[in-house]
Amino acid sequence: MELHDIWFVLIAVLWIGYFFLEGFDFGIGVLTKLLARDRKERRVLINTIGPVWDGNEVWLLSAGGATFAAFPEWYATLFSGFYLPLLIILLCLIVRGVAFEYRAKRTGERWQTNWENAIFWTSLIPAILWGVAFGNIVRGVKIDADMEYVGTFFDLLNPYAILGGLVTLFLFTFHGAVFAALKTAGDIRVRARSLALKLGLATAVLALGFLLWTQAASGDRWSLVALIVAVVALVAAIGAIARGREGWSFAFSGLTIVAAVGMLFLTLFPNVMPSSLNDAWSLTVTNASSTPYTLKIMTWCAGIATPMVLLYQSWTYWVFRKRIGTQHIADAH
């Protein structure tokens, strides 16, 4: 295994980390409209991710920064090629972060309602668009001999990628509902469970379709293993939430994300961005990567930093492990 292969795996790990963690953040954002009945309940949901959402989002920045350092061509082609979807994601993430921080800083009805709407939409839209983006990466897009994306915005809105977007939306919302059941107390917890069950079933149908389509188009033996793990984990997550085992359900919904995203990366390898115009024009782990020297330095950095991050982020979850109910939310500041 050469360094650029290791870095392919590490980039996959960073994206998996991002989707696992911000997956339930996005889900919670969507659930503020689907699950919460009033402002107090919306605040209960928002506060389940209050101390952690910012740290979760840094997984995206790390994935972006690491891609820049380890595979500059991949970074350049992906971000200049998927320009408009990425722009929309960035605008959403900007508003979303500010919305969490500012919503409670004033008491006005309109002020709070506006930020709550913002939290919903800016969670929903990126949850779809990440799936669309990854669908397109796996499917292959129009990349020319100079590694430039030559397609249009509308080329990105093909059925496969849109299905991918629906899968991420439903999977993240399901993951978020399970998280809500795990982290809240009282009436909202009961409703979170039953909503999670429904969302889980819908997710299962969509995800099975998308993953089978992926396997048929570009899968191999290893991706099939990942597919099976993803599907089994999803079924287990649904079964666990049906029996009220919230912790297990969350572990399995997380594993579903790990396996499903892992499967996408397995079908990609050794490409990082296949060209739909000509196989020879695809970006691969070799022609898109940095020099072994840079990769070596990056390996040291990631090798030391990532376990530390996992350690202190886990500690944060442990510190804030208590369930939150409406009684814990003070009326006004």
Partner: protein
Amino acid sequence: MDLALAPETLARWQFGITTVYHFLFVPLTISLAALTAGLQTAWVRTDNEKYLRATKFWGKLFLINIAMGVVTGIVQEFQFGMNWSDYSRFVGDVFGAPLAFEALIAFFFESTFIGLWIFGWDRLPKKIHLACMWMVSLGTILSAYFILAANSWMQHPVGYRINEERGRAELTDFWKVLTQDTAVTQFFHTITAAFLVGGAFMVGIAAFHLARKKHIPVMRTSLRLGLVTVVIAGLLTAVSGDQLAKVMFRQQPMKMAAAEALWDGQERAPFSIFAYGDVSEGHNSVEISLPGVLSFLADNDPNSYVPGINDINKAQEEKYGPGDYRPNIPVAFWSFRWMIGFGMASFGLGILGLWLTRRKFLLPPALRTGEDEVPNLVLFRNKALSPKFTKLYWLTALWTLLFPLIANSWGWIFTEMGRQPWVVYGVLQTRDGVSPGVSQGEILTSMIFFTLLYAVLAVIEVKLLVKYIKAGPPELTESDLNPPTRINGHDDEDADRPMAFSY
């Protein structure tokens, strides 16, 4: 294509707008993190409630500010790939590493520990909660270091070779990239300038409350901390700025010449206070200057020779081929002056303020004030300033609160505009870095959306800051005064108690 709307021009405008905007929040974040942590340390050590109230007050303003810094920072991480894909391909092997380090080390620190700090008041023992704030502060400073090392490589590329076959720069010595004098000096200058911003911010707001005789104990402390910060940071900013100018003179002589609108080289080169000229003709028509000062700034010797814009342009044409290697001279000239002018003005006011509010033992007994009195402003021995002048000082402190921030912005505009037409000095020109596949319409769209969104958010942010500034430090609650003694809080006896902080 119309030059004004060429993708290169638009991409540069977008980078300028989003980066200057991002950097409005950065210096305050860096300095307030450390100052808030300092105040909280004072509370933990002395148990004096005024320090806790000060921590809560400045901490709140810090949080409103850092929220904007964080979200506008996300754009920075992706903008290189979106608008500057050829730049990214060319420099990724070198430039990507410090960016990845920044995310993996600094951003994770900042974002994780800020969450612990915000929500941890009733979950963490005092000292651990305090340590979280110091971790945030460490994160902000590390972040500055890595990104400045990356920027310094654009100013003065080192530790790399050009791979002709792949058409890119490749890293050969990462240690050199991190430790070259450009990076170290730039870091020193940026951090000290950031503390100048935070200090002046504290002084201005404390002056606002003291002029109204409100929240006196907290604001007295804040005023003193702010003034000391302004004076120390101001002095160090000047020292580091002088060092940076000398580094720049060696590495980018064109930038120094442009900063002075020095068209032709000369010994005893002057520092112009004012100049007006015609760029196309290459000389100044009006100029007021101090002889020898530029030579001193550049080389520590008032008699040394400083090459002019025209000389350097000719030399660069010989080296890099025919072309125009001059940056926008009026922008370089004026931004350099505004940086120094606003920064120095704030430093001077800081010294004045520190003298006016000097310590008890320097004052005659009649003028000394207690903890809960507004300090007398004493210019000369034995006599406090009249109410009119006292008010004038408070007002000046308030209205100059943003001076260092303005200086910071102009400093960056100078650094980046003065490097043009290069994006990596002497290696890659800005026009060769633009994304070839991104259309004019796409860049225009993103520029319009970012600008509009940023404008709206600026209004919201400023209104919130003003609201919380006017409200002053909060009253302390029972739970503030009795922080938990073990991790995860101590409310087993009252499991339904509301969270100390909730969104």
